[in-house]
Symmetry: C2
Subunit: 512 residues, 2 copies
């Protein structure tokens, strides 16, 4: 899931804006933008909730489209920011960049280099530092606290939605007709409903991504990842890198390293996985990680596996094809792969259509789903994280079906951007007239497939004309215009000044 | 100084032998061969002596020549070794190799990849795991203790020799005529003698390399590095890697991770450098590291610099050319480079003729030598580590000029292999008759230039015929035949079974 994004602290600068279009913003009550973990007491949780910031994944195509909209459509402030990394002298930037590159190399803040053919297949070869922002971004503390507070409520919401099979099937019924991938997932889900399959132990390793809308000052959810939430490992390292630089250069920078919140996402993920394993209660069973055949973001995963091994030494890595080949289901529901009983299945693959090149991979997914192994996620959790469900939950009176507490409902609703299905003709009309204020999002995961700007208009007009049901593959979302900030970005050993917008990603674990 | 050698624990398997020629050996009182630090009380030392094992550098050419000799000339045992890594099942080797590659990536056991053009210039790009032996090598504990015991005596010897300018000049007088590089070093040394230049604070960061002769069971010194002793950083990591693997696979391997001695070479090097800085007693002065323009072994250095920064935050890296350009000498002897007063000069370059492509680099060396900065090493320390001096010290009654204690003298002498100059006609005659029992070593540093086997005969015959003084550029050394051991070697992400011979390198620091 690593795309061409930059890691900004544990989170990521998503979009690189062309400098001539960019503007600087001021921000009250600044907070150093960085990963964190806070523990929230919640009687529904087996373990304290782990919350921290995340990366984001937006392709360069998305970036450029976003860029063209900013500056054209928006009335933006032009005050100086409180901390402007572009004002740092080149000599100091050079020193800090060098130190950041060394730190990343020595501390495993690495990814596989695209230029190296083997780098996604074998560890230890073709390594390059992860693309990062040299310094943390400022972020308002109040919004950060808000994102942390709502995380356990979103966890609970996902769990409740996952239990309502009818809601999932009905909400996605139109999508099913036009999106082959979602259709296959729904078929598996329907099969489990027919079998009356229950998930006794439910494990969620989620990451909820937000943007802070500049004009309304609202923290709005971009998406909630319920499968293969990436960067729990590297994001914590970026925080450490920033803390190290701020400490080392404290005489040059007026940034307090203590203002960077701690990010223990990777520890909490490891703890949740090992606790799920304990709950399964078979000491000889293993944790199985479902991986892609090639993975350049493997070191993010290996940080998690390393911590997992410290708690519980047996884990195996298998591709979907290997699981189909080596897996079997015992009469008692035990999943056995390559001779090992599996207690927990952790997906770091299987979220995108490309992960299922043949029927073999789908057979593997069904096999796992039928078993009594803990699935992270189950098919129902996976579906609960789709954009269509996000949009359905944003409809009036839908949240109330799943949550009782009015405060909780209000907190969740406050994070919802405008979300509409394409059968809402008033909204489609408005989107054709003012396409800059909307984003068209397909069901597909993995980023980079969103439609922005005039392309929204063209796509909607084409769908209207053709009268096809293709519209059900998309949702419309209010276009969010986050703060544009100056940053120093580092990629392939080179630092350059640029302007970025950032997402805040909050990791949360749930075991029930 | 990183060549194509494999790192075996902190030490290195030097030579890869072709399997058909190799033999396995048995070894009594085995000890896991790995880096270590032991502290030896010695009133002459400001700090406890740091001792640990090291890498070695032998080019593949040297390896092949060595290989051809072993098996041809030697009566070797063929008993099974106590631990044979070749007997480990392929499936387990594959798992352990994968884990070793991941561990190396996450923990900074890295080098720059030769395949990447930028990997020696910029940190963070073109990274690859360091070539290592998958498992530690067995090594007799008694010989390991012997090497540790003699380390402070060698330190003392280097210091005493460095103070005898006449001995250095006379011993190297013939070498001077034929070796341009040594000649330039001697000129600088002579200039310092003329100036009556004294080094008040003397810092040595040494590594003494040994091989264990299979037939005599003697631990014999290969060379004593007094300049740019490499791998203090990575060697400790290899120990940690091996400890981690032995711990993780304790049910599969009967090797006790506690038998791997600790290697704190990098900490001790950092401590010695920071203590030398303290002794210099100028709080605003810096430690300056003299580096090559390109260095693929930069991460070994960066581990040291990282620890140095924790103790004392200001260090600068400069090439010899930069020092020539930016350096000046104040009237009081203070060395100022790029506006910074320099307390300690630490050489990680300047040991090979290729480090001095123009007069600029030589000017820099002279400038530093004239200053009152602590030099690690001073020109006298540098010369004291030459092979010619090693050979001179091996002559009868020479050690007695520098050391008083008879036990110390006996311990040092016990480590000397047969060493002769090429004006010893009896030895030259024997070497022509039995070239397999000798090695011809040039003054030049950096490994890979030694002459083995029939080439010894040819070189000696040519020199006899031509009657040139070229012979003074070489010494003759007894050929040592160390134990050949089975090993699993890892390079570029691939593991393969092979047979190796190993050197034991012992790091030692000295501050006076």
């Amino acid at each position: 899931m690593l795309s061409s994004s930059f890691l900004v602290s544990d989170s990521t600068s998503l979009t690189t804006l062309s400098p001539h279009k960019s503007k600087l913003y001021s921000k009250s009550s600044p907070f150093l933008f960085n990963p964190t973990t806070i523990e929230l007491p919640n009687s529904h949780f087996l373990k304290p909730c782990n919350i921290s910031m995340a990366h984001n994944i937006i392709s360069s195509q998305g970036s450029q489209l976003k860029c063209s909209a900013i500056g054209d459509d928006l009335d933006i402030h032009t005050e100086k920011p409180i901390f402007d990394p572009h004002s740092i002298k080149p000599n100091l930037i050079q020193k800090m960049s060098y130190d950041a590159l060394v730190w990343s190399s020595l501390h495993g803040l690495l990814v596989g280099d695209r230029a190296s053919e083997k780098s996604g297949k074998v560890p230890g070869v073709g390594l390059v530092h992860a693309p990062v922002s040299l310094l943390p971004m400022l972020f308002p503390e109040s919004n950060w606290k808000q994102a942390c507070e709502v995380a356990p409520i979103f966890n609970e919401l996902v769990d409740r939605v996952s239990l309502d099979g009818k809601f999932l099937q009905e909400s996605l019924s139109r999508t099913k007709k036009v999106d082959a991938f979602t259709s296959r997932l729904l078929d598996i889900h329907a099969k489990m409903l027919d079998m009356n399959k229950k998930e006794e132990i439910r494990l969620g390793l989620h990451r909820s991504d937000y943007m802070l809308d500049e004009q309304t000052n609202l923290l709005l959810q971009i998406e909630l990842n319920t499968i293969s939430s990436s960067f729990p490992g590297l994001s914590g390292l970026v925080s450490e890198l920033h803390r190290s630089l701020l400490h080392q250069y404290k005489q040059n920078l007026e940034l307090d390293p203590a203002r960077i919140p701690e990010n223990k996402a990777v520890d909490q993920f490891a703890e949740a996985l090992s606790k799920a394993w304990s709950e399964y209660n078979n000491p000889s069973a293993v944790v199985m990680v479902v991986v892609q055949t090639e993975e350049r973001n493997m070191y993010d995963q290996h940080w998690l596996f390393t911590l997992l091994k410290e708690r519980y030494p047996f884990y195996i890595r298998k591709t979907l094809a290997e699981i189909d080949e080596q897996g079997e289901l015992l009469p008692d529901g035990t999943l056995v792969v390559d001779g090992e009983a599996v207690a927990v299945v952790y997906f770091r693959a299987g979220y995108a259509p490309t992960d299922y090149p043949s029927e073999s991979e789908w057979r593997a997914r069904v096999l796992m789903e039928q078993s009594c192994a803990v699935k992270c996620p189950s098919i129902a959790y996976h579906l609960a994280g789709t954009k269509k469900i996000q949009q359905e939950l944003a409809k009036p009176n839908v949240l109330e079906r799943f949550l009782e507490n009015k405060d909780d409902i209000a907190k969740v609703r406050k994070c919802f951007a405008g979300l509409w299905s394409l059968d809402d003709l008033t909204i489609v009309k408005d989107a054709i007239e003012r396409p800059g204020y909307y984003v068209m999002k397909p069901q597909r995961e993995g980023g980079g497939n969103n439609i922005y700007g005039d392309d929204v208009k063209l796509a909607l007009q084409r769908m209207e004309k053709e009268g096809m049901e293709e519209d059900a593959a998309y949702i419309l979302m209010q276009r969010i215009f986050p703060t544009v900030s100056p940053a120093i970005l580092m990629r392939e050993g080179i630092s350059h000044a640029d302007h970025v917008i950032s997402e805040l990603g909050v990791y949360a674990t749930y075991l029930r």
